[in-house]
Amino acid sequence: MKHDKIEKNLGLLMLFTMVVISIGGLVEIVPLFHINDTIEKVDGVRPYTPLELRGRDIYQREGCYLCHSQMIRPFRDEALRYGHYSLAAESKYDHPFQWGSKRTGPDLARVGGKYSNEWQVQHLKAPRSVVPESIMPNYPWLLENDLDFSDMADRMRALKKVGVPYSESKAEYEANVKEFGQDVAEMLDIQKAQENLIKQAQTGNYDGDATRITEMEAMVAYLQMLGTLVDFSQYDEGHFVQFR
């Protein structure tokens, strides 16, 4: 085909431009779905519980990802500061993933369990009251707002559509019991979404206010589980090198 024709025909030009650009993307992405070791085989990774999932939704609503990444790269300085490098498997149930490429605040991939619930609450409410040099904004409304979890089941169904194994039928539940064990499978049951959320909030009491379930509750529950699912002590040092 003469190049003149493409240059003079806007529709054709757009079509061919898209074809050329998509080749670049496909060549990089498609093989990852076929290479065996893209996602490491590892014990412990599970989808979020309803409360954690609401916390992750609030994390996204507030734009936390704009300043905080969740991806520890395999570099000496990052390992010393944040811990074991992130595995692909650890974010396999994240839609969308929260890896990020911009750090204004510290990486949060392994912040779970690093600080107490009280610290998380105080720090989200007024960061400078505990870290004077912080430039993070205050999020006082997390403690004021009651958590809306009326649509919990729908939020889980949406993620189920993109492959997160929340269960709705008996068969799916049984499959989860096999894969994750009874306790986790229970939490992934869409039918019991609200009930489970309330139960976890009451047992955990993440916001320190036992009388209410606030948005802070969900947020802290989410932060406190980040990066804690894989027990690295059960693997040899260097175990995960073989997957690359």
């Binding site: 107490s116 009280e118 610290w119 040099e133 059960q234 260097g238 090198v241 690359r244």
Partner: protein, 312 residues
């Protein structure tokens, strides 16, 4: 259009002419062309040396570029060398084990792991190493709560730079605190006391640190504190000096870790602060660090914190 050809050093027109501006067939500069060919060659070298092309369920792993690192088997304790194709994780392993910084640090770390606390505290060189390394560990992990200078936040997180310790200020006690964390707990006396009783308890507690003055109330408060009604002495002891084993506060000094008494402007406000803690109780958790930090890191951090202010 063919007329204009002659004006530009003889290069022919491509036939593209827009508003009188014409594109000629001048070749791109030679240096540019060669730079382009050079990048193509580099590209091919990359394909040979580094992991590049997907093949079936695997990929070309690259050659001439292997990385060797050490692995210690968890179960047998057997150390062996592993050599693998170039990848960032192996590169990281090798850097952590054989990198320039790692080797420099390892020499000191080996010394530290063999040394007792007394030996470290007595050796200026080991102390200098502890200070410089633990400062970073402290900043990454501890400073968020205890402050970058270790002074904590009154009412929230204990000051590490004074000589008042909830859980003990000896090196072994500090080490245990860092390793396993601590859970401080004071129960809520929600409906236990009448308003007068609660007031009396607050008077007594504040009198211990030289605040309140009402003799009668203090006497009543002391009776409740040390009697079955309050039972405060279970944890705070009859002298109200606290117990290291449960992390209960010493109420006889002017250092406040949970009730922010110093911030209250007058006696009534100070009493309200104390009353609020008594009524609502308090739960304070310090996370354990044995999973996050190595034994050597904790050892150095212990020495660092011991030295911050008032190690016992």
């Amino acid at each position: 259009m063919s007329n204009t050809n002659q004006k530009s050093g003889g290069a022919a027109s491509t036939g593209h002419s827009w508003d009188g501006i014409e594109e000629l067939t001048n070749p791109v500069p030679r240096w540019w062309i060669w730079s382009f060919y050079f990048t193509v060659v580099i590209c091919i070298i990359y394909w040979i040396v580094y992991p590049a092309w997907p093949v079936g369920k695997g990929f070309t792993t690259g050659t001439f570029n292997d990385i060797t690192y050490n692995v210690v088997d968890k179960n047998t304790g057997e150390a062996k060398e592993v050599t693998t194709h170039w990848n960032t994780r192996a590169l990281f392993m090798a850097d952590m084990q054989r990198g320039k910084e790692a080797l420099k640090q390892k020499a000191y770390m080996d010394e530290v792991s063999k040394a007792s606390f007394d030996e470290i505290l007595a050796d200026p060189e080991k102390m200098a190493f502890a200070r410089s390394l633990a400062k970073g560990i402290y900043g990454d992990n501890c400073a968020a709560c205890h402050g970058s200078g270790g002074t904590g936040v009154v009412g929230l997180f204990p000051n590490l730079a004074d000589d008042d310790w909830l859980w003990g200020g000896k090196v072994e006690q500090i080490q245990a605190t860092i390793e396993h964390g601590r859970q401080g707990f004071m129960p809520a006396y929600t409906d236990t006391f009448t308003a007068e009783q609660l007031d009396a308890v607050a008077e007594y507690v504040l009198s211990l640190s030289g605040h309140s003055v009402d003799e009668n109330k203090v006497a009543t408060g002391k009776r409740i504190f040390n009697g079955q009604e309050g039972g405060c002495y279970y944890c705070h002891t009859t002298n109200a000096t606290g117990m290291l084993s449960v992390g209960s506060a010493n109420l006889t000094d002017s250092i406040w870790t949970v009730a922010n008494v110093p911030a209250a402007s007058n006696l009534e406000a100070k009493k309200d602060t104390v009353k609020s803690v008594v009524t609502n109780g308090i739960s304070r958790k310090m996370p354990g660090w044995s999973e996050r930090l190595s034994a050597n890191d904790i050892k150095l951090l212990t020495v660092f914190i011991h030295e911050l202010g008032g190690g016992k």
